[in-house]
């Protein structure tokens, strides 16, 4: 009896040891082709199940969303006519100054079919992939502003890394006075604008947008607004907390920005 107990304990320890060794081997070979292939395979097969599950819950919100969209449509029509006027004026002025035209961007719609929120890892699973022309590192947006970027791509699905992810960084500017900084996620679920010198004129409520100094994000995408400024912290830089424009807990549909080949971001 005693022997069988010790034999079982040995088997249990060996199973654990095998699991640990395998896990570590996989962890250290994350960039290998086999792991990447397995990742995209698992990713594709489960995304089908997730999509059907998420579509069930979406039916309830459809009517409410429709009403909101109609209202948004009317508002956007008004805004569009004003923007169009400004665009024509801008075009004329650019021609006068000899500027190159800004490249147009294409928006690809995608549904959010899954999400991963674990500590400082924040990502969403989308139902569009390379078949729709998506590529890694393309910007993900909603009508409210910047959501994140494509992190991994499959044929019919993609994972987007959110602005709230620990490893996410984006070059940004304060819309009012063009002060530049880097938007990054900090502890306690705060998004901050880092690397802004203390002498900068920043006010609560200032809009923060992408700077366009990037090959990923087009300029002028709204990120959020300044919620809090701490000038007392030691060092050369301000501690600026941003309230993101996007409500990440309610993400249902997003758009992926396809920048035209060879495009140059002119902010």
């Amino acid at each position: 009896m005693k022997l069988s107990h010790s034999s079982l304990a040995r088997k249990e320890s060996l199973t654990l040891l095998a699991a640990i060794v395998l896990s570590l081997l996989i962890t250290f070979s994350n960039e290998s082709k086999q792991i990447q292939t397995l990742r995209s395979w698992a990713f594709g097969s489960l995304s089908v199940a997730l999509e059907s599950l998420s579509s069930l819950s979406r039916y309830q919100a459809v009517f409410e969303e429709n009403k909101w969209l109609r209202q948004q449509n009317a508002n956007l029509m008004l805004a569009y006519s004003r923007v169009k006027e400004a665009q024509y004026e801008n075009q004329r002025l650019r021609q006068l100054l000899g500027f190159k035209a800004k490249s147009s961007e294409k928006l690809v719609p995608a549904k959010v079919i899954g999400r991963n929120e674990n500590g400082f890892i924040h990502s969403i699973l989308l139902n569009a992939g390379s078949n729709e022309g998506l590529k890694k590192d393309m910007a993900v947006v909603t009508a409210q502003g910047l959501v994140g970027k494509i992190f991994r791509i499959g044929k019919e699905e993609a994972t987007a890394q959110l602005l709230l992810d620990h490893n996410f960084r984006v070059s940004a500017i304060v819309q009012r006075n063009r002060v530049t900084g880097i938007v990054e996620w900090q502890r306690t679920n705060q998004v901050t604008l880092a690397a802004v010198p203390k002498r900068s004129d920043i006010k609560v409520g200032d809009k923060i947008v992408t700077s366009g100094l990037s090959t990923i994000f087009p300029g002028g995408l709204e990120i959020g607004a300044v919620a809090q400024i701490d000038k007392k912290q030691p060092g050369m830089f301000l501690n600026i907390v941003i309230q993101p424009s996007v409500d990440f807990s309610r993400l249902e549909e997003v758009f992926i920005v396809q920048l035209a080949e060879g495009s140059v971001n002119v902010n």
Binding site: K11, E12, T15, L16, A19, I20, L22, S23, L24, L25, I26, T27, F28, N30, I35, L38, R39, A42, F43, L46, A49, L50, L53, S54, G114, R115, N116, E117, N118, G119, F120, I121, H122, S123, L125, F151, R152, T159, Q161, D165, H166, N167, R187, T188, N189, S249
Partner: protein, 164 residues
């Protein structure tokens, strides 16, 4: 039949963790439903099955994240092994001891998971402990308590100690 139920339960836990559970997120802390199911498997079916399920489910979950593949499988395997302690010990009548061991198991899992995910970043460890490990462990324990209340009381007890 039992194996089929466990497979369904484990698959459902991965789907729930990816779709439904994030809605319960409080200040970044999300209950770990996969871990709870793995603890149940380990306690009821033994450490070997617990570790195997923990490894496979961890791997499945990692494929969908932006972090390292293999981290959840490592943390889940260790947690399953730790939870197996309850299989051979009749503790279900002493709630404080039962919950202490379950919290310890969840804590071990979260320490492994977050410590490895933290590698290569500049996050302060104390900060990580206060804002991620501790809230996440306690939140998962709250879910364990809810499951313990809703389902039969012997769900966290080994088969040898099931009521007649």
């Amino acid at each position: 039949m039992v194996a089929f139920i466990y497979v369904c339960l484990l698959a459902a836990s991965v789907l729930l963790q990816l779709t439904f559970v994030p809605f319960f997120s409080i200040n970044g802390a999300t209950p770990d439903v996969i871990l709870i199911v793995i603890m149940i498997v380990s306690i009821r079916e033994g450490r070997i099955w617990g570790v195997i399920c923990g490894f496979i489910m961890g791997l499945c979950f990692d494929f969908f994240g932006t972090g390292f593949v293999g981290v959840s499988s490592l943390a889940n395997s260790v947690a399953a092994f730790s939870a197996g302690f309850l299989r051979t010990t009749q503790l279900e009548r002493r709630l404080v001891t039962l919950y202490s061991i379950l919290l310890g198991t969840i804590f071990v899992h979260d320490v492994f998971y977050f410590t490895i995910q933290r590698l290569g970043s500049y996050v302060n460890y104390w900060d990580l402990f206060l804002h991620d490990i501790l809230p996440q462990s306690l939140y998962t324990l709250v879910f364990v308590a809810i499951i313990h209340l809703v389902f039969p009381r012997h769900i966290f007890a080994g088969r040898n100690h099931w009521p007649e």
